[in-house]
């Protein structure tokens, strides 16, 4: 396998683990099965039937949820007759004065980056699913979407809501706003989306 490997045709049948550099001959796993690196257990290929359509549907849903959750209040607090509620935009702009830069970062992590990532994903996947040629700049778009991954923190913010709730529940009366439930759904969807996503399959379908 090694000797003839410089042959271009042969190289197409190989896959390298991005985490440990081990090379394998590609064996397309059956749907719902996964190909895993034998020594570092990184998932290499995890195809799902109709994953593309499901991913698009989920991306659209999450996108709508983020927009809606940004404007509706997610927690409401009351004590001694005074009430206040807070939306995601309120939370992001809680930092002022010398901390204003943090407001932009928080807004980026929980709204802008997740939305951008989802929109890029939709842009890349729609032509693929419809068996059209790849969208212009699709490869750069998907590469960028992938690199945004770790900085998309909507689900972490959702868990932060739960922590904040516990922290102040004995100081004041706290109620959930509509956005809280949207965010709860969003967390589940983001986790499912991650398991559906097979990078190898996407790259393969973007190949010309």
């Amino acid at each position: 396998m090694a000797e003839g490997a410089t042959n271009r045709l042969n190289l197409e049948r190989l896959i390298a683990c991005p985490k440990c550099d081990a090379v394998y001959e590609i064996v397309e796993p059956a749907p719902r099965e996964r190909a895993v690196c034998a020594r570092c257990h990184t998932v290499l290929i995890a195809p799902r039937r109709r994953a593309g359509k499901q991913l698009i549907a989920m991306a659209v849903t999450v996108l709508i949820l983020i927009v809606a959750a940004s404007v509706f209040p997610f927690l409401r607090i009351g004590a001694g007759g005074v009430h206040n509620d807070s939306s995601i935009l309120d939370a992001a702009f809680a930092f002022s004065g010398p901390l204003a830069a943090l407001s932009l970062a928080v807004l980026g992590f929980i709204v802008v980056v997740p939305m951008m990532r989802l929109m890029l994903l939709i842009y890349v996947l729609v032509p693929v699913v419809r068996n059209r040629p790849a969208a212009p700049g699709a490869r750069a778009a998907f590469r960028f979407a992938e690199s945004l991954g770790p900085w998309s923190m909507a689900e972490i913010f959702a868990l932060g809501c739960a922590v904040a709730l516990v922290k102040i529940s004995d100081l004041a009366e706290v109620n959930f706003g509509p956005a809280f439930w949207m965010f709860a759904v969003l967390v589940v969807m983001i986790v499912v989306q991650d398991t559906l996503m097979c990078r190898y399959s996407v790259w393969k379908s973007l190949e010309t």
């Binding site: 550099d21 064996v27 607090i77």
Partner: protein, 215 residues
């Protein structure tokens, strides 16, 4: 995926692998023709960048613990809480569980991350006692857990936007929140800079040395 005998790396086969789309190319290829990613068999500046981000991250972690994270004003008192101070106070009020969670999330995990990343980087240059499988697991855990530390900053944002009850009670974010966020960002960048393929290389070189000594 079927493996026959010894696993061979792309480098050993005279190939270079794309870390983004897993395609392999002949060694010396500049960019991946499938996804456009810049190709390098090993990221030679990896450890330098790991240490650079690690150091700034650690520097930011110090003021993050000295300055107050939250400033709480109620009718009678005005109180500044550092990360540890807040947890200690919760514990004094009997909220041991929450105090424990906060200490774990904002103290144990960040410090553990610094130690783990440093350990991985030192392991590559000087050899390590842990097996490569263990070190790879450690790397995966650090990469996965890194972003979750940002939860503290989000909690501060939520609390200070929510608890605005005029004179009754109000919470404003303290300076530590900025440093804490920076520290999280820098340690994430540090972990991302680490080329995990180095873990496996170093070990391979050692084994060869070992085999040579036996013979």
């Amino acid at each position: 995926m079927e493996v026959a005998g010894d696993i061979r790396t792309a480098r050993e086969m005279g190939l270079v692998a794309c870390t983004r789309c897993t395609r392999v190319w002949p060694a010396g290829t500049e960019a991946c023709a499938r996804c456009g990613q810049h190709l390098a068999s090993r990221d030679t500046t990896s450890l330098q960048r790991v240490w650079a981000w690690w150091i700034v991250g650690l520097i930011c972690y110090i003021p993050a613990n000295i300055y107050p994270m939250l400033e709480t004003r109620t009718l009678f008192i005005r109180q500044d809480n550092t990360i540890v101070g807040g947890a200690v106070e919760l514990a004094q009020h009997g909220n041991w569980a929450i105090a424990g969670v906060i200490l774990a999330a904002s103290v144990l995990i960040p410090i553990g991350k610094f130690i783990a990343v440093a350990g991985l980087a030192i392991g590559v240059t000087r050899g390590a006692r842990l097996s490569r499988e263990r070190r790879h697991q450690l790397y995966e855990v650090v990469e996965y857990i890194g972003r979750w530390s940002m939860i503290d900053v989000f909690v501060v944002a939520i609390l200070s936007s929510l608890v605005q009850l005029h004179a009754l009670a109000s919470i404003t974010p303290g300076r530590a929140s900025l440093f804490f966020a920076l520290s999280v960002i820098f340690t994430m960048l540090s972990a991302q800079s680490f080329d995990s393929r180095l873990i496996w290389d170093a070990d391979r070189a050692e084994r060869r040395k070992g085999r040579g000594a036996d013979a």
